[in-house]
């Protein structure tokens, strides 16, 4: 349930998340690889017992307000998840016959089994959401005019794949039949409309959609799949692990080739012509580029995976919902409210393609706004995030967290055998961590939530903490400006963007205790070696408010509850 609180779809995101959390993980600073946070969420989700009795429930007594969500993707589902327990009537309109949005249509089932999707979506829908499948909204005006709803949330995603207008693209119908738009093609595969593809396939683009396209092709009969990249590897948009997984399946990634034209012979697609590019690079910057020649790649099919856009042909111009010149709706970044107060946006529909976890976060924030808006309160006066600290000390050198540093490297995800996995399109490739792997991976965590808290009044300057610190992150020295202070640390300061902790002046010598948090492994030895408990290990709990934390009427509470 903790897993579900802000994540909402732990089983889904534990498999296919874009993992913005992992680059931030501090384990990546002490060795190369961060903790496999994403896959651990999957472990927790896969091995749970029946949680149905703990799930939020909608009250029998409704509050009379009705919210329409457009599109049954992660953003809309999160809105429903947050608003149903508060007594709202939520209706979700979905054009397809199944809910899930892009999670279902664009993520192949060998990465995300349909059963996982169905279960986690079911938790939300079963609260009593009015889910209207096969019901595309063709006019927002009509929806608003019907007066059936008090507010509308647009979570319709970015459903339009970009096309590539090159010579030969529309030469004959036979050619068009073999050039596919990535996300549309994945959608057709997901709904079993497409069951095969030619032997030789070229994928244009190297984003995560391209990875899904190339791996799906292999499962539909392709034997020679090439992903064509315009730029060198460090410019790829796809996540490293998705690239690795594709290359494991013998997909060839060809760099520095810019598409030039579709080659058509006798009305049939025979291949594509590319410009071979040469770049002058300075780290991650391209200084100059030039075309060094032309190359022909034969193929039977081409899949274009060069990006997607949001499109709102169904939103009329005169409704008060404003768009900018790129046809992107003007949406407030804090409240997700559009220029029309009763219309809110979230997910890819709001700011263009991002990822599922962002869509979930948009959903949470939009739910708070919808709740406040429908209770007649300002959408901008939101509850602040809170931080609570509590000591982890249980006894002499005993802490209520595992403080020992575990040196093991990141566990590798076990995969289904290469031959086995191509037999059917829906064989999940990743098997999930076993108990041993999960236990080891969990112990790689550096416990950033357990903070070293220093009380200068208690310090007797015995040096014990400084002597014991394995990563030399503590220093006692005369106080001076931060830049100078960094020159006087026990170990060189590597991460200038992380502020130093500087205590108030110490009792005996008026020096200060300085901590460079950068590489601290939170082993708690400073606190164990401290004779006066000037150091303590304290758990910090961040409380991020959700709609359920607001009072039912959104008014400030009369008395403060002290936890």
């Amino acid at each position: 349930m903790v897993n579900r609180e802000s994540n909402v779809f732990p089983g889904i995101l534990g498999r296919v998340c874009d993992r913005p959390c992992e680059p931030a993980c501090r384990r990546g600073r002490v060795e190369e690889k961060p903790v496999a946070i994403c896959r651990l969420k999957r472990v927790a989700a896969d091995h749970r017992d029946d949680v149905t009795q703990f799930l939020p429930r909608a009250p029998r007594q409704k509050n009379g307000k009705r919210v329409a969500c457009i599109g049954a993707g992660p953003a809309s589902l999160t809105v429903a998840n947050d608003l149903m327990p508060l007594g709202y009537d939520v209706t979700i309109f979905e054009k397809w016959g199944t809910p899930g949005g892009l999670m279902r249509t664009n993520i192949p089932s060998f990465r995300l089994p349909a059963s996982v999707l169905a279960e986690e979506i079911g938790y939300i829908v079963d609260m009593g959401v009015d889910l209207r499948l096969g019901t595309p909204i063709e006019s927002l005006k009509a929806l608003l005019d019907s007066r059936e709803f008090d507010a509308v949330f647009v979570g319709s995603g970015a459903p339009k794949g970009k096309d590539l207008s090159l010579p030969g693209r529309h030469e004959t119908q036979a050619v068009e039949d073999h050039i596919h738009i990535g996300i549309d093609w994945l959608e057709s595969v997901a709904f079993d409309h497409i069951k095969s593809i030619g032997k030789r396939v070229l994928i244009i683009g190297v984003g995560n959609t391209a990875m899904d396209c190339c791996r799906s092709s292999l499962r539909l009969g392709a034997t020679e799949v090439k992903v064509m990249a315009r730029k060198p590897r460090n410019f790829f948009k796809a996540s490293d692990w998705e690239l690795e997984d594709a290359e494991d399946e013998n997909v060839e990634i060809v760099i520095n080739h810019a598409p030039k034209s579709f080659v058509v012979e006798n009305g049939k697609l025979t291949g594509m012509m590319f410009d071979r590019m040469e770049y002058q690079l300075d780290g991650n910057k391209i200084l100059s580029e030039k075309v060094a020649g032309e190359v022909f790649f034969p193929c039977d099919d081409v899949i274009l995976a060069i990006g997607q856009e949001n499109a709102f042909p169904w939103i009329e111009n005169d409704l008060g919902v404003e768009f900018d010149k790129w046809h992107v709706p003007k949406v407030d970044k804090l409240t997700f409210q559009s220029s029309r107060p009763d219309v809110f946006f979230g997910g890819d529909a709001a700011f263009g393609p991002k990822n599922i976890i962002w869509a979930v976060e948009h959903g949470h924030q939009a739910a708070i706004s919808l709740h406040r808006f429908l209770q007649g309160q300002s959408v901008r006066e939101r509850l602040p995030a809170l931080l609570n600290l509590s000591s982890r000390k249980m006894g002499l050198h005993e802490w209520s967290y595992k403080n020992d540093y575990n040196p093991v490297e990141r566990r590798l995800m076990p995969h289904v055998d290469l031959k086995e996995r191509f037999k059917k399109i829906n064989i999940e490739v990743e098997l999930g961590f076993n108990a041993e792997q999960a236990a080891a991976e969990v112990q790689r965590c550096l416990n950033c939530d357990v903070q070293t808290v220093f009380d200068a009044k208690l310090c007797i300057e015995c040096d014990a903490c400084i002597d014991i610190c394995p990563v030399d992150c503590l220093t006692m020295t005369a106080n001076r400006p931060e830049e100078e202070l960094r020159q006087h640390l026990k170990a060189p300061s590597r991460n200038k963007t992380q502020p130093l902790f500087v205590s108030s002046a110490l009792k005996h010598t008026a020096r200060v205790m300085v901590k460079d948090e950068d590489l601290c492994v939170h082993c708690g030895l400073c606190a164990e070696r401290c004779p006066t408990a000037a150091w303590d290990m304290q758990k910090s709990t961040i409380s991020i408010p959700h709609a359920s934390d607001e009072s039912p009427s959104c008014t400030p509470p009369q008395t403060l509850k002290i936890a």
Binding site: P407, I460, A464, A491, E528, R529
Partner: protein
């Protein structure tokens, strides 16, 4: 003590010494002393100094007797040699080891009980012989291992944890060493590594017996109000008379010092100690005046610290006793034993 061992992980920017090792390579087992014990800081200072001198871990011989202090040899340089002797008998083991192998650096670690009570005689003779070793006293004024009785270094008027006052005069190891003719006498404080680390380096390189009396508070039994060896008292009554900067051989002294304030002393191996006199009238090469100065400060209840006396001219243990330059363990067996015939000849002399 702690329940977990110190994680092996290190800061990637940790500096390396001339032989490519980091400070972490000179660590030992996990300390089982009380949290905040001064002795652990002394251990850290020894690590820092040995690392700084680029001594190979196996070039160090760690010797100790009995007591909290004597446990600490296990907490640094696990790659070195070690001998944990009988109570107060570390000096004779050091003397024997030094006679057999002059290639090692000898570090004896002792406490106020081990040195000034049970081992007082041994201490005196090691000084008399000018044994080539660094002798560190971790001095806290109490018997910590037996729950805090006054030791022989407890000052008159110093109060025990339960309030009783010490009425017997203390034995001052620094004064004693000066009287006995020691050639390198220093006092420092576990809470002042800036002073202690260069002193340890100089002491290791000194040709002869080097004594550093380190005030090393016992956090458990002698860190209260009324104690004269608590962190607070030592800091308040701290009189650093001469600061010693250790300068390795072939390094230029670049800092500028006022006339009469700096005094370079060249050690046997060419390295130097640059003495910064914080009291310009003090002369660390004049034994008689040093004793007078100490007496005066002792009456004022001050702890005089720094390099109090240094003498580079007197002969060391090896020169006086004509010990072998080749370590015994590198000599052929035939050379070390007289053989049956030789033995009979020797025995014949006593018949």
């Amino acid at each position: 003590m702690s329940f977990i061992t110190k994680p092996k992980i290190t800061h990637p920017g940790l500096p390396k010494n001339d032989i490519g090792l980091t400070r972490r390579d000179y660590e030992g087992g996990m300390s089982t002393l009380c949290a905040g014990c001064g002795h652990d800081s002394v251990t850290a200072a020894v690590i820092e100094a040995v690392w700084g001198l680029s001594i190979r871990p196996e070039q160090l011989a760690k010797l100790s007797g009995i007591g909290c202090s004597s446990k600490t040899t296990a907490y640094f340089d696990s790659g070195g040699h070690g001998f944990n002797g009988v109570h107060g008998r570390m000096p004779s083991i050091a003397t024997g080891a030094a006679a057999a192998n002059r290639d090692l650096y000898y570090v004896g670690i002792s406490g106020d009980g081990d040195t000034l009570s049970i081992g007082f005689g041994q201490f005196a003779h090691a000084i008399r012989r000018n044994v080539n070793m660094l002798y560190l006293i971790e001095n806290n004024g109490v018997y910590g291992l037996t729950k805090g009785q006054f030791s022989a270094s407890a000052d008159i008027g110093s109060k025990a944890k339960r309030g009783e006052e010490n009425k017997q005069p203390p034995v001052d190891p620094v004064m004693t060493a000066l009287m006995l003719g020691a050639t390198f006498v220093a006092r420092s404080f576990s809470g002042d590594k800036e002073q202690l680390v260069p002193l340890i380096k100089a002491g290791l390189r000194h040709n002869g017996f080097a004594l550093i009396d380190v005030l090393s508070p016992c956090v458990t039994f002698n860190d209260h109000e009324g104690s004269t060896k608590s962190y607070e008292f030592v800091r308040d009554h701290y009189d650093e008379v001469v600061h010693a900067d250790f300068v390795p051989p072939a390094t230029e002294i670049t800092a500028q010092y006022a006339e009469g304030h700096a005094l370079p002393v060249t050690l046997h191996d060419g390295s130097r100690i640059l003495l910064r006199k914080l009291d310009p009238s003090y002369d660390p090469t004049d034994r008689t005046r040093a004793i007078g100065y100490l007496r005066e400060k002792l009456q004022q209840g001050e702890h005089v610290t720094g390099l109090i006396y240094v003498d580079q001219s007197s002969s060391d243990f090896h020169a006086v006793n004509n010990t072998t330059a080749t370590p015994l363990n590198q000599m052929a067996y035939e050379k070390l034993t007289p053989g049956r015939k030789g033995m009979e000849k020797i025995m014949g002399r006593y018949r």
